[in-house]
Symmetry: C2
Subunit: 513 residues, 2 copies
């Protein structure tokens, strides 16, 4: 397999430096796709090792560029390394390939059936638009890059301008580690600038896009991907308001726990997390405000004023914050700080406001947007309100919905709420808070629009690999021409689901009324 994924007739000229990068990715695709799982896995593990070996240097650059704390950045770098190692295991395991083999069957119920073997193949070169708020875990060597490389796709990362030095340095380390592990040249590059990113997304050699960022930019890029002469899949993780629904029992039995968990979740990383709880629906007369004020004071005493990631985020935060504070009926619970320094950097402490359900309803266009930063809205819900109906009324898509209940509280109302929440969210929490997304096999970080542009997969956890694969079936192809995972000898030792001859005669017999 040595021919590149090129469709020569269809290529518009790119700037020469960009052209070299895209051409190299295209040329590297077949060789990367053909790597034995253990070798591609070892290359991912080598990237993890390289990041950890340079942790001190990387965290220092990241700290300077993003203002995030050293502790947070160290943890994030570790998470990024763990993520790469987890994907190494996913490749070796091979179940992500969903290999299916149908034996030739002369007595097939619809006439003779040929030998058919289905697997998934890497889609080809991927462009990944990095995020600002996770300079490691959702950036150059982050989840999207790890998943695409694991799938066997060359990756071109469009760096986020919020941490340019870190992006280039990370890129150098990743590229060097991959090449030292025997991966072909060109499998990994970092580019800069919106124009370059858009040009690459439109290039016919690019076969999928990934993005983490705002609804506005995500929509723009998704529309570009969809309107190409040859449309490609585009996986954008965009905005999320992460509503929390609190029952009366939770207020009565877990007030302290509830309030401290809430404030910790809003204040951490200066609220700049996609899963920050943006709206908390509380029973009217909950009486928690004094506790919230106290908890924010305690949090401020420990965290101090926190810098926002960059001037653009600071100005966006201020604008959204002002809009909400100025809306009719919005009452300030914790005033919080939000000031801009001489370098246009924003400095904040949490702001918490409250609004009645009625006013939220009346001003939904103004109020229901995400405010990216340490800000949350308490919504006061009249007794007897149908919480499930509120989910449908206010949210079409969210990364998470959280239920705060009494200890092991169960009711028909909660059952309806769970059903409604699972219609609009990728992840549903019972207790706990949505920030802090575990990198594990069962994770789901996604959700209907506007949480993502494409809710068929996840951008965290092992299932994220599925975004960069496409299925192919081989009909009656001899072993010598088949890729290893669908051969009878199964040299990669992957799970193969085999449909033996004769089975079709009883299809349908497993179901009964």
């Amino acid at each position: 397999m040595t021919t590149a994924y090129t469709h020569h007739h269809d290529i518009r000229p790119l700037d020469p430096a960009l052209e070299r990068i895209v051409a190299a990715a295209d040329a590297a695709a077949p060789e990367l796709a053909d790597q034995e799982p253990r070798r591609r896995g070892a290359a991912l593990a080598a990237v993890a090792d390289a990041l950890e070996a340079h942790a001190e240097e990387l965290v220092q650059i990241a700290q300077e560029e993003t203002g995030l704390t050293t502790g947070r950045l160290q943890g994030e770098l570790k998470r990024t390394a763990v993520q790469l190692r987890l994907f190494a295991d996913v490749i070796v395991d091979g179940s992500y390939l969903d290999v299916r083999i149908d034996r030739a069957d002369g007595e097939f119920v619809l006439g003779a059936r040929p030998d058919l073997r289905r697997t998934k193949l890497p889609v080809g070169p991927v462009v990944n638009f990095a995020a600002s708020n996770f300079p490691f875990a959702f950036s150059v060597a982050g989840g999207d890059s790890a998943a695409a490389l694991a799938a066997g796709c060359p990756v071109i990362v469009k760096a986020h301008p919020g941490h340019p030095r870190l992006s280039l340095r990370t890129g150098e380390l990743v590229t060097a580690a991959l090449e030292a592990s025997g991966m072909p040249a060109g499998v990994f590059s970092v580019i800069e600038g919106q124009e370059a990113g858009t040009a690459v997304l439109q290039d016919p050699r690019i076969r999928a896009g990934a993005f983490t960022g705002s609804v506005r930019v995500g929509r723009l890029l998704a529309d570009i991907a969809a309107s190409r002469p040859q449309p490609i899949p585009f996986f954008g993780e965009l905005g999320s308001t992460n509503p929390v629904f609190v029952t009366q029992q939770a207020v009565q039995t877990r007030a302290d726990d509830l309030v401290s968990g809430f404030v910790t979740s809003v204040a951490g990383s200066a609220g700049q997390l996609c899963t920050k709880p943006g709206f908390v629906f509380l029973p009217e007369g909950h009486g928690l405000e004094e506790r919230i004020v106290q908890a924010v004071e305690d949090s401020n005493a420990s965290l101090g004023e926190q810098r926002l990631l960059n001037p653009a985020i600071a100005s966006g935060y201020n604008a959204r914050r002002e809009t909400t504070l100025g809306a009719r009926g919005v009452r300030t619970v914790v005033a919080g700080e939000s000031r801009t320094d001489g370098d246009d950097q924003g400095w904040t402490t949490p702001t918490i406001v409250a609004v009645s359900l009625e006013e939220l309803r009346a001003q939904r266009e103004e109020l229901l947007e995400e405010t990216f930063g340490p800000f949350s809205v308490l919504v006061e819900v009249p007794r007897g309100s149908d919480l499930a109906a509120l989910v449908y009324e206010f949210f079409t898509g969210s990364l998470t919905v959280t239920l705060q209940t009494g200890d092991a509280e169960v009711s028909d109302e909660l059952r309806s709420l769970v059903a409604a929440a699972s219609d609009v969210a990728g992840r549903l929490l019972y207790g706990g808070w949505p920030t802090g997304v575990a990198v594990t096999p069962a994770q789901q970080h996604g959700g209907p629009w506007p949480a993502t542009t494409n809710d068929s997969s996840t951008s965290v956890g092992t299932a994220a690999i599925s975004r960069f694969l496409r299925p192919v079936a081989y009909q009656s192809v001899p072993d010598a021409l088949l890729p290893p995972m669908v051969r009878d000898a199964n040299p990669w030792d992957v799970p193969q689901a085999i449909d033996e001859a004769g089975g079709s005669k009883t299809w349908g017999s497993r179901a009964s009324a």
Copy 2:
């Protein structure tokens, strides 16, 4: 789970009859989603039984409306019933849910991990735009409807105007069988007209679209789905040219077999199949033309003049046929008939033309489109040409690519050709012909644009169900509030991939250089 999938604030008014249908589908969604697998499977099997019980009546209407032969239609109806029964088994088996359970893990490598349970849930109501050329298998009760119902999604079928009576009658039978099996009212409806179809596709209660038809209409609908305020996945199966590459050895050792297989594949169903071989790349000087002329004569003697499906297809076929026949350097091998009767119906026998590689290259815009009907182009390839390079030069996406070789022929050239073909096609055949798509677990009916609008799945075979599902994770949710498939007791007896506590410590250790 009794609340409908509605987002009330976002709904534009539909025509009252259409509004009732969409509202009913929306209202039925939760109850359908919650059906026990055996019951939903039994309902699909009941639909299969109903179709077979009315086979005579249905085939007769279909014959009148489409002109397809009774034999072909009987076979297609059986295939449609088998497909429904196969999906019944898929539901009961449950592996399509990809259930993953991560146990809570206090020693998780990134800090304590909560209990996480991931499954797939039905996306909600689906609109399915039916095809003209398979009045059973890709129409009202066809693969897309079967897959969506199996997934647990209510279905609204936009009937193809080529067989209106059949569509309504099939819809009655399906609806009655589903309701008699205890499925909620509103889970299945048939609508008519392009305007109604477009309005439904734009309705916010609709969560996915499926389509089988032309590139032009497919692109139009895909663009509508992508540009909705809340974009939804749209799975269109569009045009395909299904190139065939013939080696010198095949010509030398299997000439008769080759020619008879080719002519049968082009002539069957008057060539109105998405997988009809449209371009056959043959070594220059192949000397097969006389055999081809003879084989078409034999085929005509047995099949006679065949009617095209409807006047629109007849006029499209004539236009494309004339364009190709009139192109520079195109030589007629078999003239074939194509006449239009007083009812504007088209009547045909196969037309086969030949062109040099050079002329195909020079006139690619004109020549490389699909001609839907009994028409195929022989391309004469100079000795020593790189066949893999031709794949990349001429094709970006195709449902199939076929290799015609000597018996068990294997070479480096073929290896490259297989690699190139698997980059652009959903299914790769070695010998055999692409028409006749087996309905089985390992089938793949898809491919990069323009074969489909979305190459992440298939529209034939059991994997087709994945198009109508979205993943959701439950974090620390008590058993009493979890859906059955992720409960510890596993009442639906589905496969659950369990990640036990403690495993994260060795992540990455399975990969080694």
